[in-house]
């Protein structure tokens, strides 16, 4: 069961305001005005809508990398949303992953070493920069003693962390898992590195429409930052405390292409297998899936492969590409998009895909039903999927269902 959700992202600092911004058709991408961006080939991004410092204690802000700050704020919102459940610490786990990790702390520690010498490297550096730092910060804040995990798989990390969290509950190792993804890597090194891969949009003069998944002239993603977190809870535990679940995480799956260091397998076989496995584990047939929150970053190859996979695997599903509004949060993407998929099911409204240049004819030909800029009401929506496909062929799919009306799942 999903009993709580939270996020901080480029559109807003919490889930309700994020939903409002999506309903309003807003785009979070903007030009980077910082000095460090002046000489970069890419000078657009989707920075956080609010400053974490405004919501954290001075010590939390000082100690934690920005990626960890995002994870902590999203987890706090999700925890409160779930009703701050009473749970034995030994039965509470955390599974929160970054895709890139606390890179700001890595770079600032390196700067300290070079500029001020080894004695001036702060003792707080390692706990700030380790890849599991966001999960560790949340685990410490909530007192999670069943385990604190951070399975990292490029841009599928957030979704994989949620899949892993579901496994912990299915295996009986925890009653509640706080699970999601985070990243905050708007650093010149990261921008330059993704730009070197030709992965980023270079629409420097038109940031608001630069992220255009499925468009004929898509030219890469817009780097965003933020986190999305779910509270996953065993059905019996939720029932025993009288919690009102939001949705059911019916099935989850992870696969790998084992094909190329960066590019997805053009056939999308393992993407398709992740999707089918998630549905199979959830006891769902493809025809029941009414909505997919696609990974759809707006890269040329990535969108084309995913569009073919979705068109042949869940041909009846309407597809939203919310990265058109939020940018690509890397590890945070799977977390945020899981939050948005749960909200879509709960509200029975599909978030928009901003389509300033329409849809690539090659994608239209597939018969893919892309939700347009207005969003869409779907009164009968019963099942929805969130897909996450990372560089290197890391694939994750999460299948959610509306609360069962006549039987427990």
């Amino acid at each position: 069961m999903v009993t709580g959700l939270g996020t901080i992202n480029p559109l807003a600092g919490d889930a309700p305001r994020t939903w409002q911004a999506l309903r309003a058709g807003q785009s979070a991408a903007r030009g980077l005005t910082a000095d460090w961006a002046r000489d970069l080939p890419v000078r657009i991004a989707a920075p956080l809508a609010v400053e974490p410092a405004d919501y954290l204690s001075a010590r939390e802000h000082r100690r934690l990398d920005r990626a960890s700050q995002c994870a902590l704020l999203a987890a706090r919102e999700a925890w409160t949303h779930a009703g701050a459940p009473t749970v034995k610490p030994e039965r509470l786990a955390v599974s929160i992953s970054p895709g890139i990790g606390p890179v700001g702390s890595v770079m600032s520690t390196w700067d300290d070493l070079r500029e001020r010498g080894p004695r001036r490297v702060p003792p707080t550096a390692i706990p700030a920069l380790m890849p599991n730092a966001p999960a560790a910060a949340v685990g410490l804040a909530l007192g999670a003693q069943a385990g604190v995990h951070a399975p990292v798989s490029a841009c599928a990390s957030g979704a994989e962390a949620i899949a892993y969290g579901a496994d912990l509950i299915t295996l009986g190792r925890a009653d509640i898992v706080v699970a999601g993804g985070t990243d905050a890597s708007l650093h010149p090194m990261v921008v330059a590195a993704f730009a070197a891969m030709r992965a980023l949009s270079t629409r420097n003069d038109d940031p608001a429409t630069a992220s255009r998944p499925f468009a004929p002239d898509r030219d890469g993603f817009v780097l965003g930052e933020g986190a999305g977190v779910l509270v996953l809870e065993a059905a019996e535990h939720a029932a025993a405390r009288g919690a009102r679940p939001l949705a059911v995480l019916a099935g989850a799956a992870v696969t790998a292409d084992a094909y190329d260091a960066v590019r997805p397998d053009p056939d999308g076989r393992q993407q398709e297998r992740a999707l089918r496995l998630a549905l199979e584990r959830g006891g769902l047939c493809p025809g029941q899936v009414g909505h997919v929150n696609a990974h759809a970053t707006s890269t040329g190859v990535g969108d084309a492969v995913e569009a073919r996979v979705l068109a042949r695997t869940v041909p009846g599903a309407a597809v939203s590409a919310t990265k058109s509004a939020t940018g690509h949060l890397l590890g945070g993407a799977g977390g945020l998009e899981a939050v948005l998929t749960v909200l879509a099911l709960h509200e029975r409204w599909l978030p928009p895909t901003l389509l300033p240049a329409g849809i690539d004819p090659a994608i239209t030909e597939l018969g893919l039903d892309v939700v347009g800029p207005q969003g869409r009401d779907v009164p009968g929506l019963e099942a929805a999927v969130s897909t996450s496909f990372g560089f290197g062929g890391h694939n994750a799919a999460l299948a959610f269902t509306h609360l069962p009306n006549h039987r427990d799942r």
Partner: protein, 82 residues
Amino acid sequence: MTDSPTDILAAVTQIVAEEAGVDTALVTPDSRFTEDLDIDSLGLLTIATQVEERFGITLDDALIPTLTTVGALVDLVGRNKR
């Protein structure tokens, strides 16, 4: 430059208060790092590092975790200054 015991106390108090996120008036030589100021092991190391930088000294790494009060840190700095 020499620092009097009062100078050392004032500087250490400033550094400790900043790490603890409290007003300097709440930090006294008797203040206990853990119980009174909610400073953990990393916080104590951060304070020690800043004290070392401020006074140009090197504290014995083995002694830092044994410091329980602000006064004990001031004494250790004083001994290192001599």
